[in-house]
């Protein structure tokens, strides 16, 4: 693949420590397009190694609005089914620029291991020194060891070894994985994957592609999300005004995922003045909320916001999915902060109601009055589109301008390959299982 790609797929065998690389062929892209489509093909190809596949979408890291998404495809310890977990913030983009389009991780290592991915090189390194660290300490340690604070870390925490509620962590924050894939990573003795992307993506017809992206950006700018920012507005847009009011006192600022117009992450200050703007003296000020799942349950339980924030931070350091943990606690009758906090270490599933290949961290209810939202089939199809092309899974719900026809057209302009709606339909059907 000459365009919108690094042209390289890595196959990592953790049992032997060997890494093979393959060319990312035009034929594979044309047939499976990208992201979850190609992840699934690689997963099936290497199924005997119980693989975990990391991949970027066709447009990840490009100028298409919302182009943040990377995808992890693996069998969920919670559902027993193959699932596609989202990698938002900067992680998908970093993978795309790392020199690898897809990474297949097979088998299990005998000792704690990490992968170091950069400049088209993938090193399998021992990680014994990281094994006992919590998520935040491990991220800091890797960045210090490699001398680069911009390294993006797909990691796990102490919870991953024993809990099927352990999620993939995106640096310090939860990834939106609701499938327990942190536990799947730990089962391979893989502590983390450190990624740095300094590459370059060529574009087949760059002027036409960029002109169309700029026009598309102009179109989406006037969409239903315009003038709104963060999880407070998102909660209000879902009709959950009480949740928004509950969160508001501790919200500091809102952050977007890479090249994504709507800022869907909000930071809760757990100390100091949330309205303060200068750089704080303290190294840790609170926790980034990347979805509303856990917060909504804690509010429903009647927790104080500060206590809920402390639990969210505890979950982030443990690498525990706070949304799933909150649900398990609620179902088990633990609804006060001390009981929940005390139960986190050692907490595990099962979790009722989890199904489907895409994370319910992206809301299934109507948001900002979008007509189709709440329609499960429509939601699933839009998630498939997001996970194939590498687009923010929430933003595709808010931006009908990112139509399938437009994305198919852009795919052809960006790659010089031929794509069709029929081909996209087939890949969507496959990734939806």
């Amino acid at each position: 693949m000459e365009f919108l790609a690094s042209d390289q797929i890595a196959i990592v065998d953790l049992a032997s420590g060997e890494v093979e690389t393959e060319e990312f062929s035009d034929e594979l892209c044309q047939e499976k397009i990208g992201g979850a489509g190609i992840n699934l093909a690689l997963y099936n190809q290497h199924a005997d190694g119980d693989p975990i596949v990391l991949g970027a979408g066709l447009f990840t890291g490009s100028m298409v609005p919302g182009s943040c998404l990377g995808v992890v495809t693996a069998k969920s310890p919670l559902t027993g089914q193959v699932a596609h977990a989202p990698l938002t913030q900067y992680l998908g983009m970093e993978l795309k620029y790392s020199g690898f389009d897809y990474i297949v991780i097979k088998n299990a290592a005998a000792a704690p291991t990490m992968l170091w991915v950069h400049d088209g090189i993938l090193d399998v390194e021992e990680a014994g020194g990281l094994a006992g660290l919590d998520v935040w300490a491990a991220v800091d340690q890797v960045r210090a060891d490699k001398g680069d604070d911009l390294i993006q870390v797909l990691g796990t925490g102490p919870a991953a070894a024993s809990s099927d509620l352990a999620c993939l962590m995106n640096n310090y924050w939860p990834s939106g994985d609701r499938f327990g894939l942190g536990h799947a990573l730990a089962a391979k003795n893989l502590k983390l994957v450190a990624i740095r992307g300094l590459g370059l993506l060529e574009i087949a017809d760059d002027e036409e592609f960029v002109d169309q992206c700029v026009a598309l950006q102009g179109e989406v700018k006037g969409g239903v999300w315009a003038g709104k920012k963060g999880l407070l507005d998102l909660a209000k847009g879902m009709g959950q005004d009480a949740l928004a009011d509950w969160l508001a006192p501790l919200v500091h600022r809102h952050r977007a995922n890479f090249n994504t117009p709507f800022a869907a992450n909000s930071f809760l200050f757990l100390q100091g003045d949330p309205s303060a703007l200068p750089e704080p003296e303290e190294a840790e000020m609170g926790v980034l909320l990347t979805d509303l799942g856990a917060a909504a349950l804690f509010q429903q339980m009647g927790l104080e916001l500060g206590d809920a924030g402390a639990i969210l931070k505890q979950c982030a350091k443990l690498g525990l999915d706070a949304g799933l943990a909150a649900k398990v606690c609620l179902d088990g009758g633990k609804t006060d902060a001390a009981a929940i906090s005390g139960a986190l270490e050692g907490l595990s599933g099962p979790v009722e109601g989890l199904s489907g290949p895409f994370s319910p961290a992206t809301p299934k209810t109507a948001v900002f009055g979008v007509d189709q939202a709440g329609d499960d089939a429509w939601w699933t199809r839009r998630q498939a589109v997001a996970h194939i092309f590498g687009l923010d899974p929430l933003f595709v719900l808010l931006a009908p301008e990112l139509s399938e026809a437009k994305l198919v057209e852009l795919a052809g302009i960006g790659t010089e390959l031929e794509f069709s709606q029929e081909g996209l339909d087939a890949v969507i059907a496959e990734v939806c299982g």
Binding site: D148, L150, L201, E202, P261, F262, L277, E284
Partner: protein
Amino acid sequence: MGVKIDPLKCTACMACELACGYHRDDAFALLSSCIVVYRTRDKKDYFGVILKEEEDLVIARPEGLEVKRIGAVEEGGGGGDASAKPMLLREACDLCEDRDDGPLCKQVCPVDAVYLD
């Protein structure tokens, strides 16, 4: 006239950085952008934007703008954090002089944090 940044509108999406990289390389890349989101202080929720102009480094911090002369930064450091380390080696903003529509970073900023003044 020059590119200006409202750091309180900025959401750290890096669309400006990506656009600038394309302007320099005719491809998608981030290494040669003269406008950069600094984003390494996650746990403090502290982020902003750095712009390299011909003579100045403009640091758009949440608490306000800071303008440093390039020579002073070279001698004394203080040009932001790791996100901005190579800034001094990059070309200065040319307002996308080859584009009829003006700076691409301004055009793609989804929240109008980048503007001309």
